[in-house]
Symmetry: C2
Subunit: 156 residues, 2 copies
């Protein structure tokens, strides 16, 4: 399972992508993101700091500061965000591309049945998570908001 920190991170990043839209990337306040996404504000500070250290957002300090996406929304994947917050996608260290570590107790990696299967799982998960970008998520995300706004507007 993802930690709630990682889920918050995904939501915050999608929020940034939605607010940014197709225009230039400009910074938004933590407080605004926290309010819109209903994320504990001080906790979101930690999360955005982590994301910044991993190069996924940039910050501007001072009165007109805030956080902005570090890259175009179609260049940031779910995998980037999850890896930044929760660490490797793989189910075992011996199948992680980003944090590989040999099994201490595995006699022959090439033949290990567990490893073979975990490699397949990691590959399948990574394929999906790396090909899903903020740009895609933001467009479905906006759909949700539009739909809700419409419901609200028509009083349904």
């Amino acid at each position: 399972m993802l930690t709630s920190k990682a889920k918050y991170a995904l939501r915050a990043m999608i929020d940034l992508a939605i607010e940014t839209g197709t225009g230039p990337r400009r910074p938004f306040f933590i407080g605004d993101i926290a309010r819109r996404q209903d994320i504990p504000r001080r906790f979101l500070e930690n999360i955005l700091l982590d994301l910044r250290k991993h190069g996924l957002v940039v910050s501007h300090r001072g009165k007109a500061g805030g956080y902005a996406l570090a890259k175009a929304p179609d260049l940031i994947s779910f995998a980037d965000i999850i890896r930044a917050i929760d660490g490797p996608l793989a189910l075992t260290p011996c199948t992680s591309r980003t944090a590989y570590q040999r099994c201490e107790d595995c006699r022959d990696e090439a033949m290990c049945a567990i490893r073979k299967t975990m490699l397949k799982v990691r590959q399948a998960s990574a394929d999906i998570l790396e090909s899903t970008t903020l740009a895609q998520a933001a467009s479905t995300g906006e759909g949700v908001n539009d739909a809700i706004d419409q419901v609200r507007a028509t009083g349904d």
Copy 2:
């Protein structure tokens, strides 16, 4: 990542499958499994107890007791074992088939971009883990042992 408990469980179950081979399912001692697989013995007791409570192994008490596979090796999948020890395969509660829980903060499940992606990941992972059985793992596993024995025999 899997917990080490789940990895031990997979190893112990594969060990049982290898020892059982194609013959009838008979019980093996915790101590023997622990020694062969280099798993802390008392910890393995907990694990086998969990696996028994989930119906994956059966136990016999008393002097000639032990643990045996509850079903044929080709009817027990990696997914069964991982679910028994670590819980749901899904990355979020809202995409778990076995422990579904609605997102408290999700406005529209059908349109949620995060959920949509996590569903795909769970489906892909489950497809692999449910189709990989102890029977398959045991045959590659035996290959490893044979290969190692051969290396030992030829002194290489």
